[in-house]
């Protein structure tokens, strides 16, 4: 694999036009990845989902070279009609369109980054892989006191041109003081057996608000890793919603650093799995300052021989007094082959805190099914009703009414 990586990297560099500085950074990132390789179950974070093994089993030999010079056509049919929105269209890891037609153009600054955040996190070599092979990184800066009028929908599309390929993509958001943005990240996969590695960085200044809704619905055989890193200053709020159902394997990782007081982070997620899927959500909320708040609610419905994993960690620094942290994960196992693994973790160094977590897993409540059946529903409908009620709980946490309605329709819960 090492030789393949090196030759693909050289090919990638020679067909793109990066500055010397960028090439140097990319080389460093590649070296870091070469040193560590794909994460395996030997690492604590990957204990329940050995991505190295999963890639080998499902894809085998990976192509790391991804040609960003290929022209891709945008099919307008895929756009959401129900709501007016701004668009970013990404096809096979390449940004094809950025349109902010509903916003004031002087309030948004679009640039590409020459310098990327060199994540020297040894525990997560996938970030290094992303840094070394991703195309130019777009940066979206929302200026002071500006609130997005319409949501931004990021269409992340893959088409049949790629297969057995590693697609790396990175996007940056800077929210200046008192600004706000609503993002829907929609996956639309028409490709098979690729390894898609996404990295989103969000920097929230004082009083900024980020609402980020990630939807993975369309059934596909791709393997995905999606990492969102959110840093928050004073009074800022972040809300992340994850609906994960379509891909063969996906690990959604959300890492929040609450650096300013009165900042808060909400992460809610749904796993709706069937067949042979294996999905994981890992949340990392770091309370680094006084009076910060975090809340996580993750619910899984697991059918057939699929597997759901939730790893959640709340870290409270000794400075972060008066922290309020809450975490709940629940799972319903519908089939004997289904599996649920959880690791809700608390690491606390401050005494004046309120932190708790809960985790429950089991089958659907027989009594509830019986009750509904005694009211005239057949067993199948009764079960479906209970499941949608179970999941609706999470969807109801979405604070934006318009988007909530849209997502409810999209997911098929009402």
């Amino acid at each position: 694999m090492e030789q393949k990586l090196k030759t693909d990297f050289d090919k990638f560099i020679s067909t793109s036009n990066f500055s010397n500085q960028e090439i140097k950074l990319k080389k460093q990132a590649l070296d870091n990845f070469l040193k560590n390789g794909f994460p395996s179950r030997k690492l604590e974070n990957w204990k329940f989902s050995d991505i190295n093994q999963i890639i080998q089993k499902n894809i085998g030999e990976l192509e790391f070279y991804n040609d960003y010079n290929v022209e891709n056509k945008i099919n307008d049919d895929i756009f959401i009609k129900e709501i007016e929105h701004n668009k970013i269209v990404i096809i096979n890891g390449k940004v094809e369109r950025l349109s902010f037609e509903y916003e004031e153009s002087d309030k948004i600054n679009l640039t590409t980054l020459d310098n990327f955040n060199q994540n020297s996190n040894d525990d997560n070599s996938l970030l290094s892989l992303n840094n070394s092979f991703s195309n130019k990184i777009h940066n979206i800066l929302v200026k002071k006191n500006y609130s997005f009028k319409k949501p931004l929908i990021i269409y992340q599309i893959t088409n049949e041109k790629v297969s057995n390929t590693n697609i790396n993509f990175q996007l940056n958001f800077e929210l200046e003081e008192n600004s706000s943005i609503k993002i829907i990240n929609l996956s639309d996969d028409n490709s098979e057996k690729n390894f898609i590695n996404n990295l989103f960085n969000f920097n929230l200044s004082k009083s900024a608000i980020l609402k980020n809704y990630k939807i993975d619905k369309k059934s596909n055989t791709n393997i995905k890793y999606d990492y969102s890193s959110i840093t928050q200053k004073e009074n800022s709020i972040s809300e992340t919603f994850i609906f994960s159902s379509g891909s063969e394997y996906i690990k959604n990782e959300v890492s929040c650093n609450l650096e300013g007081q009165y900042s808060s982070a909400f992460i809610n997620g749904i796993h709706l799995l069937s067949k042979n899927k294996h999905h994981e959500i890992r949340t990392n909320t770091n309370h680094l300052y006084e009076n910060t708040k975090s809340y996580q609610l993750i619910k899984s419905v697991i059918d057939d021989s699929s597997k759901s994993v939730y790893q959640g960690k709340i870290y409270v620094d000794s400075k972060a007094q008066k922290t309020d942290g809450y975490q709940l994960s629940k799972a319903v196992l519908l089939n004997e082959q289904a599996e649920f693994n959880a690791k809700p973790e608390l690491e606390i160094y401050a005494d004046d805190v309120k932190c708790s977590h809960g985790s429950a897993s089991g089958s659907l409540d027989e009594d509830s099914i019986f009750y509904l059946m005694s009211r005239g529903l057949d067993q199948k409908t009764a079960k479906e009703l209970l499941i949608s009620g179970f999941l609706l709980d999470v969807v109801e946490k979405i604070t934006d009414e318009e988007i909530k309605k849209l997502l409810k329709n999209m997911i098929g819960l009402s």
Binding site: A342, L346, I348, D351, G358, S361
Partner: protein
């Protein structure tokens, strides 16, 4: 001078050591030493081979390093693996033959070896360093057919039982410290309860580490045959020492059909001084196997001592309808560190487990609950309930919860809850208003916090444990 001595003793009530000349094996860990231990204990050849096999395995094993409390590297070649009080080369026949100095030591510890034994109705198998000193109350137990003796004695007298069960729960191929124990274990307790016998008294062993630089490698084996019941108590105190002392014991419990074993521990070893110097490393492997149907194993522990406590008393619920329980109080103060919890492995149908863990950290200490609940595919209708609560005192200490939950069976339910909080100002205020000083008030509130676990302890222990909870937190408030 005398004042200074008293000053030193004040910190640790049980901090003294007796001047009995120790009889030691040469320092270091090698085949010679293992042969020496085996030889001096007149062990049969199969056991020597078993030990050597463990030693072979040990050579390729690495010390685990995933735990939260880190410690300086232990030089295993710089330890003594066998030490026995010299005057014990010939085993004494009765209590009167004992070294009076030794008896005095036990008296200071409050161990009911003589008069108290009758009053308390406890049979004591006291372990002084590595050789069993005296076993009391034998007659009452013999009448019922109960075997309660040192493991060395059991190896001589009941080799078939020992051979059948030794290493059946903790195999020699287990993790580093368990394998180390298998290679060099010196002594420990052996209990066998015959079918349908309810052990009439609480069996108790007090461990005591004495000689400086001597790691203690105890091996305890408890077998409850069909339909039997036994409650076993283990309590520990150790003299004050500067160097860190390693304790890597193995405890194996086997419950056959309809049998029940209740294992309670109060651990109060030397935790090191206020600056974190010295103290015991308590790296113990405790594992129970619910082998037969309807069997039950219950662990209760009160962990207040040791510089580092690192143990996970576990239950393997193999028999259908078997039950595993774990009740724990862990208190860390000053520079103490604890990484403790349990593993509940559900293999049989209709198995149940319950975990109640209370962690209290004060001073500059660090406490971690780490637990595993694993319900396998075939364990239908199994349930687990876990509750772990932590209490923090001050902002220099840490409390962590790391539960691993694996559910592979759709008919089984797992529920897990954890909270972290501090003592509420209101509660403190209320108690102080009623005339308690701050320390008493904290003691009272903490005892209330731990009550669910304290209730599980046998009477004799509950009182001692309650006091211990108070003592351990002295000086942590204010």
């Amino acid at each position: 001078m005398r004042d200074k001595q008293i000053e030193n003793l004040k910190d640790y009530k049980y901090g003294f050591s007796t001047d009995i000349e120790s009889f030691k094996a040469p320092k270091g860990l090698n085949e010679e030493v293992i042969r020496f231990i085996s030889n001096i204990k007149k062990e049969p050849d199969w056991l020597l081979q078993w030990r050597l096999k463990a030693f072979e395995r040990l050579k390729v094993l690495k010390e685990p390093d995933w735990q939260k409390p880190k410690y300086p590297k232990i030089d295993y070649q710089d330890l003594y693996y066998y030490s026995a009080p010299k005057s014990f080369k010939e085993k004494p026949k009765n209590l009167e033959d004992l070294d009076p100095k030794l008896l005095e030591t036990y008296k200071k510890l409050g161990i009911p070896l003589q008069e108290q034994k009758r009053l308390n109705g406890i049979a004591v198998d006291a372990v002084f360093d590595s050789v069993s000193v005296a076993t009391t109350f034998k007659d009452t137990l013999t009448e019922k057919g109960i075997i309660f003796c040192s493991i060395s004695e059991a190896i001589q007298k009941y080799p078939d039982l020992v051979r059948k069960y030794l290493g059946s729960v903790i195999p020699i191929t287990d993790h580093f410290f368990a394998t180390l124990n298998s290679a060099v274990f010196t002594d420990g307790s052996f209990v066998y309860i015959p079918p349908n016998v309810k052990c009439p008294m609480e069996l108790s062993t007090y461990f005591r580490i004495n000689a400086s630089d001597t790691g203690q490698f105890e091996r305890t084996l408890i077998i409850a045959d069909k339909g039997s019941y036994v409650s076993y108590l283990e309590g520990c105190t150790a003299p004050m020492r500067d160097e860190n002392q390693l304790h890597a014991a193995n405890v194996e419990l086997i419950a056959l059909e309809d049998a029940e074993i209740k294992y309670s521990t109060v651990q109060n070893w030397y935790p090191g001084d206020k600056d974190g110097k010295g103290g015991i490393y308590n790296f113990v492997t405790k594992r129970g196997l619910c082998k037969g149907k309807n069997s039950k194993i219950s662990w209760t522990q009160v962990e207040t001592g040791s510089a580092i406590t690192w143990k996970y008393p576990s239950c393997i619920l193999k028999g259908d309808n078997s039950i595993g329980e774990f009740y724990s109080i862990a208190i860390t103060n000053n520079h103490q560190k604890a990484d403790t919890g349990t593993k509940m492995i559900h293999l049989g149908k209709n198995t149940k487990s319950k975990i109640i863990s209370k962690g209290i950290s004060a001073g500059k200490s660090d406490m971690t609950y780490r637990g595993l609940v694993d319900i396998s595919k075939n364990a239908s209708n199994s349930t687990n309930y876990t509750q772990c609560d932590s209490l923090l005192m001050g902002n220099k200490c840490g409390a962590h919860t790391v539960p691993y939950i694996k559910n592979k069976n759709s008919n089984s339910n797992i529920a897990h809850e954890a909270t972290t909080s501090k003592i509420s100002e209101d509660q403190l205020h209320y108690c102080q208003q009623r005339g308690l000083n701050q320390e008493e008030a904290v003691g009272l509130i903490v005892n209330g916090f731990c009550k669910e676990v304290l209730q599980q302890l046998p009477m004799e222990f509950a009182v001692e444990a309650q006091k211990l909870v108070g003592i351990s937190l002295e000086g942590s408030v204010g």
